[in-house]
């Protein structure tokens, strides 16, 4: 299976703390993306990191990519209650028509 794995499956933290989620995948990729899904809603794109990049920032988000280990991490700093959602990593494998392969997601709960 090409499906990625995410770790942890669930994470509960207090507002103001940092949240780190990890993702591992199996194939060579063009890029890796992180998406957020609020309960009962569609997925929203957060950040894209290309296979030749090692780190990327966007606001309170920091993403790293280690292609030798086939892994990525998403760090959310100074978390807020509004960050409560499921977070998914998705890879775009090489030569597969641009499709996204999603991990199983991390459920983040930020308590006020």
């Amino acid at each position: 299976s090409q499906q990625g794995e995410e770790d942890p499956q669930a994470l509960s933290i207090q507002e103001g703390e940092n949240a780190t989620m990890n993702c591992s995948y199996k194939t060579s990729i063009n890029n890796l993306q992180w998406y957020r899904q609020n309960s009962g809603r569609g997925l929203v794109h957060l950040i894209l990191i290309r296979s030749n990049e090692r780190e990327k920032h966007s606001g309170r988000l920091r993403v790293t990519l280690d292609t030798s280990k086939k892994s990525s991490s998403l760090l959310i700093t100074a978390s807020r209650a509004a960050d409560t959602a499921s977070y998914f990593c998705a890879t775009v494998p090489v030569d597969q028509g641009g499709k996204l392969i999603f991990g199983q997601g991390t459920e983040l709960s930020v308590k006020p």
Binding site: G42, L43, V44, K99
Partner: protein, 116 residues
């Protein structure tokens, strides 16, 4: 303005029925997708169309038939519905190619299908 809209939002139906879900995007994208999300939130691609041509067709029962009348629309018709088809179905769209903003997918709000 809704970027990717899918209808209906909820669909409750009996086993054996045929149903359709519609999707429209107003983003000017050239590629559209259907995903199925199961009860454990696992999201799996089903189909993808680029400029009305089928480019991804995962192992999906042939009871599922996508149709793309134009670049902005991708509909999903399901024949002879089964209990296992119960899930949330998401439509998404993107602009393929290289460069900033490309290959990022925009998702609709989902259609929650319940087969009784």
């Amino acid at each position: 303005d809704t970027a990717v809209s899918q209808t209906p939002k909820y669909l409750v139906t009996q086993m054996g029925n045929d149903k359709s879900i519609k999707c429209e995007q107003n983003l000017g994208h050239d590629t559209m997708y259907w995903y199925k999300q199961d009860s454990k939130k696992f999201l799996k691609i089903m189909f993808s169309y680029n400029n009305k041509e089928l480019i991804i067709n995962e192992t999906v029962p042939n009871r599922f038939s996508p149709k793309s009348p134009d670049k902005a629309h991708l509909n999903l018709h399901i024949n002879s519905l089964e209990l296992g088809d119960s899930a949330v179905y998401f439509c998404a769209s993107s602009l393929q190619g290289r460069g900033v903003g490309k290959n990022i997918q925009y998702f609709g709000a989902g259609t929650r299908l319940s087969v009784l």
